[in-house]
């Protein structure tokens, strides 16, 4: 349970090596936190993340195998985690950016991005939602992106997967009203992590720590959608209003 003063006891991270996820877990109040499950593909990064969280004094930090693209395994995987105890917060943080030009040249690359970011998220998201409803409480945090607010020439494959994911998460949040569980949609702008490494910085680029503490604040306040940083909400409202012929010609 997340208690009356907002302290969680257990967290599941889907995309266990994600830098945004790690920063979020670090920003959570920790006095009641006793179990963190980092789910992802085996890597040095996920082990490092587990060691780092362990060193913060969290009593149980496990890593467990989870591949977003392997949707057939998601049911058993989610059951396994929830059968070991209630999960208060699920961070759905996996995702790949992909390379737009490469995807245009080799559409199977685009399919990979879509499979992880959208199909995989829908699959694991529904499995998680069932278990959250069954336990009658819990928060699912979905890492969407401003890239889904308006598709851009330079990364519309990625952007379209986030648009789909965002729409899915909105609907799922509505479906869960009254279930005790809820969905928080997070729409960051560009964040300085491995994913954006080497790309030119967009306006309002921020750090994973900023996203992490924004997520923790939003959970405390019971919000359902946030932009990070907050003012991006207004910028994106403007961006969405730009007519397409003009938008195409803007620097991407």
């Amino acid at each position: 349970m997340i208690d009356a003063v907002g302290e969680p006891q257990s967290v599941l991270v889907l995309g266990g090596s994600s830098e945004i996820a790690l920063a979020t877990v670090e920003a959570l109040p920790r006095t009641r936190l006793r179990r963190v499950v980092l789910a992802g593909r085996p890597s040095a990064e996920i082990d490092r993340a587990a060691a780092h969280l362990g060193a913060l004094g969290i009593p149980s930090v496990e890593t467990t195998l989870f591949d977003a693209a392997d949707t057939g395994s998601h049911g058993a995987f989610v059951d396994g985690v929830f059968d070991d105890g209630d999960v208060d917060i699920v961070l759905l943080c996996f995702g790949v950016l992909g390379d737009q030009a490469e995807a245009e040249a080799d559409p199977t690359k685009a399919v990979e991005v879509a499979t992880v970011n959208y199909t995989g998220a829908v699959s694991v998201g529904l499995n998680v939602a069932q278990r959250l409803r069954r336990q009658g409480h819990g928060k699912l945090v979905v890492l969407s992106s401003v890239a889904g607010d308006r598709a851009r020439r330079s990364n519309y494959v990625y952007g379209s997967t986030k648009a789909g994911l965002d729409a899915f998460a909105q609907g799922l949040g509505d479906a869960l009203v009254g279930s005790g569980a809820s969905v928080l949609i997070v729409r960051p702008g560009m964040v300085r992590t491995r994913m954006s490494d080497g790309l030119p910085e967009a306006p309002m680029t921020t750090d994973p720590e900023v996203v992490g503490s924004a997520i923790v604040q939003a959970l405390r306040k019971g919000k359902s959608v946030i932009y990070v940083p907050g003012p991006l909400r207004f910028l994106m409202t403007a961006v969405k209003a730009v007519p397409r012929p003009l938008f195409r010609r803007l620097p991407q």
């Binding site: 349970m1 003063v5 006891q9 069954r134 336990q135 009658g136 409480h137 009254g178 279930s179 569980a181």
Partner: protein, 457 residues
């Protein structure tokens, strides 16, 4: 959408919280109308288990259980007064409110009442509630003669504190927070009264030391005693009210005409929506000032009504909404006499947090009873309502927990919504003993609550 969607809400789905309106969870609520229905539902319990709920007056997550089947016990509320033995035999869902309305005119009073009469008999036993008379008469469980409990296998057990084969189960259920079984019926002893009036002595005390000194000195002379503390004033000034049921000769001629008349005034409810933060230090300061001044400096043998003396808050329905959507919690601890300084420290730390409280109550407890999880033991108990949305609160309460634990004190499960499992393990030393009786009564682990899961009970 088809009816089979596992995400679809069912007709019996309810989001439940305690009186503090924090941390809701969804449960399937059933309203059993017979004891057999309770037993059947326990036998058919799913993996998330079952839990009994009374009137939901516990503040935190004791009477809720995410994903479980929760029995709304209030549909089972018959009761019978046995005038000869001075006892009541009641369904567990009967409320103290309805029982009082029947027994006061017959010359009886409940052995223990909380600060609200809207608690059920089941809730009173499961939390082993205490009243203003704890220092002389102990808690509710000490007045229970026997009870009928459906255990985790669906069997009805008759439990009695005097029967050597069932007394361990009896005491594990008293204060057991619904986790040993569902109480369906109980018989408890009443207090005979000559009148429905209270004879009350009131003293306004200029600071906390004054309050505490007077309580140590004089509480033993009274059946009922409690102090309201002005939590905003650094002095810790307060109003001490003590008294007993009035005897006939204490009534005026007019009152004597109907010495046992009992009426409960119905007052307006609090507005449904109140923004967070309305209850701030300034508004509480103004309220407390008015409340302090309202009381006479010192007055003896004043005649009060039962509701006015025991249940003043019941005059405003749904007053728990004044704390706004983020809700509130009540911090209640007991510490031994020698650690009385923790009372002062708590008040000052809550002031530091800017956590205003208009309901802050201090009382002295008498000795504990045999129930392993019963809260009261000899010493000071302080209860303070505070808004849960205050971000400074969590670390301050943890710091106070540490002092309470160090001093050999503990927190009250019926009020708790945030303590840690390790705090419980440290401060309820008879937890293991309780576990072994609980495991015997509920071998399948059917009884679950959010409180139980949160605290690893």
């Amino acid at each position: 959408m088809t009816a089979e969607s596992p995400l679809m809400a069912t007709d019996n789905d309810r989001l439940l919280t305690g009186w503090g309106r924090t941390a809701p969870s969804r449960a399937t609520v059933r309203s059993p109308s017979t004891y057999d229905e309770v037993a059947e539902a326990i036998q058919e319990a799913g993996p998330r288990g079952v839990l009994a709920r009374g009137l939901g007056r516990s503040y935190g997550d004791a009477a809720q259980s995410g994903g479980a089947t929760v029995f709304d016990m209030t549909g089972l509320h018959r009761f019978e007064l046995d005038i000869d033995s001075g006892t009541v035999t009641a369904d567990a869902g009967a409320s103290i409110d309805e029982i009082l309305r029947a027994i006061v005119p017959a010359g009886f009073f409940v052995p223990v009442t909380a600060g609200t009469r809207f608690v059920t008999v089941g809730g009173a036993i499961a939390a082993d509630i205490h009243g203003k008379n704890h220092h002389v008469e102990g808690s509710f469980g000490s007045h229970v003669v026997s009870m009928l409990v459906v255990d985790g296998t669906g069997h009805e057990l008759v439990l009695s504190p005097t029967d050597s084969t069932t007394k361990d189960m009896f005491w594990a259920t008293v204060g057991g927070m619904g986790l040993t079984g569902v109480i369906v019926e109980a018989t408890f002893r009443l207090l005979a009264i000559e009148t429905s009036s209270m004879s009350v002595d009131t003293v306004r005390c200029h600071d906390l030391d004054d309050v505490m000194a007077r309580m140590i000195e004089g509480d033993d002379d009274y059946r009922y005693s409690v102090a309201w503390i002005d939590s905003v004033a650094p002095s810790g000034r307060g109003v001490l009210t003590r008294g007993d049921h009035a005897r006939r000769e204490q009534l005026t001629r007019k009152q004597v005409d109907a010495p046992l008349a009992y009426a409960t005034p119905a007052l307006p409810s609090a507005p449904a929506f109140i923004p967070n933060g309305l209850l701030n230090s300034a508004s509480v300061r103004a309220f407390n000032e008015a409340w302090f001044r309202k009381h006479p400096k010192s007055r003896s043998n004043e005649i009060h009504s039962i509701p006015g003396f025991f249940h003043p808050l019941d005059g405003v329905r749904d007053w728990n909404r004044v704390y706004g959507p983020q809700g509130f919690l009540q911090y209640q601890f007991v510490v031994p006499d020698e650690a009385g300084w923790i009372v002062e420290r708590t008040l000052s730390r809550l002031r530091d947090a800017g956590a205003p409280s208009f309901l802050t109550v201090l009382k002295r407890f008498g000795p504990a009873n045999p129930a392993p999880l019963s809260f009261p033991h000899a010493g000071w108990t302080l209860a303070a309502d505070v808004p849960a949305g205050n971000e400074a609160l969590a670390p301050i309460l943890d710091e106070l927990d540490e002092l309470v634990a160090e001093a050999g004190g503990r927190l009250y499960f019926a009020k708790d919504s945030r303590q840690s499992p390790s705090m419980v393990a440290r401060t309820y030393p008879r937890l293991a003993e309780w576990h072994s009786v609980r495991d015997q009564m509920d071998p399948r682990g059917v009884f679950t609550s959010d409180l139980g899961r949160r605290l690893s009970l």
